[in-house]
């Protein structure tokens, strides 16, 4: 499993460099996320644009990654492919996370008028 971290103004972007987050790598993903996000900005954006497939183990690992950030920190998801988005929608996990179509949407200023 490979994760790449980029720091931007006010957010840490973690990109998943894998096509699948499945049962074979869910535990590793959770542990790697713990290492990557141990300290850093309150907002973490998980870039899922390379991920073509996720199963319930992978979904659980993303939920775990959010929980282990602790209170006051936030995990947002960006670049969901249609298949990944479907799993989040079916399980209603799309109501728990803020989902962005792309990384640039996720990092765009929240209020363009400010």
């Amino acid at each position: 499993m490979s994760l790449t971290t980029t720091m931007t103004d006010g957010a840490q972007i973690v990109k998943v460099n894998a096509e699948r987050i499945d049962a074979a790598m869910a535990i590793q993903f959770k542990e790697d996320m713990r290492t990557e996000t141990e300290s850093g900005p309150d907002r973490v954006i998980l870039d899922l644009s390379e991920v073509q497939f996720i199963d319930s183990s992978g979904l659980g690992a993303i939920v775990a990654a959010m929980k282990q950030l602790g209170s006051g920190r936030k995990l947002d998801l960006a670049g969901l492919t249609p298949m990944v988005e479907k799993v989040f929608r079916l399980t209603r996990m799309d109501t728990i996370f803020d989902l962005y179509a792309s990384l640039s949407d996720a990092t765009a200023p929240a209020d363009a008028n400010s």
Partner: protein
């Protein structure tokens, strides 16, 4: 015309991944539309994960055998294993996970049967000769060459 395919693999997470990937490639080459292939892949993966995690739990991983039957309007996928039967011989109900809870109480699992039941149009289970036989049906419209050709 009915097209069939089959594969088998050892019930480990990594072997399951390559077995499922081969089924997915087969479905694509048979002309099953991409979004339906995704849905079949989700349900099949959850069913196989259950075999790896539960049926062969506490014993050496045995074989998982997958058979597919593609009819003009539906696909049957059967998953066979020689592991432990379902509790009381009954499939889990697959209720949706409760997500209206505080973050620390959010579920990190238990989505599998819900996804299977949500995505498959029929689910059948039989225990015969020490094997679990789970069959999942999906309504499919094959694209590309006609299935009657």
């Amino acid at each position: 015309m009915v097209k069939t395919f089959a594969c088998s693999f050892t019930a480990t997470n990594l072997d399951a991944r390559s077995g499922i990937t081969s089924v997915v490639e087969e479905l694509r080459s048979l002309g099953v539309p991409g979004p339906r292939v995704d849905e079949v892949q989700i349900a099949l993966t959850e069913a196989v994960n259950n075999v790896v995690e539960h049926a062969y739990a506490g014993s050496a991983p045995g074989d998982v055998r997958i058979r597919g039957e593609l009819h003009p309007e539906r696909l049957w996928i059967s998953i066979q294993d020689a592991g432990a039967p379902f509790q009381a011989g009954i499939l889990p109900e697959g209720r949706p996970a409760d997500v209206d809870v505080p973050i620390e109480d959010l579920p990190e699992g238990g989505f599998g049967w819900f996804l299977i039941r949500e995505l498959a149009s029929q689910v059948q289970y039989e225990r015969t000769d020490g094997n679990n036989n789970l069959s999942l049906c999906f309504e499919i419209q094959v694209t590309g060459q006609s299935a009657d050709a």
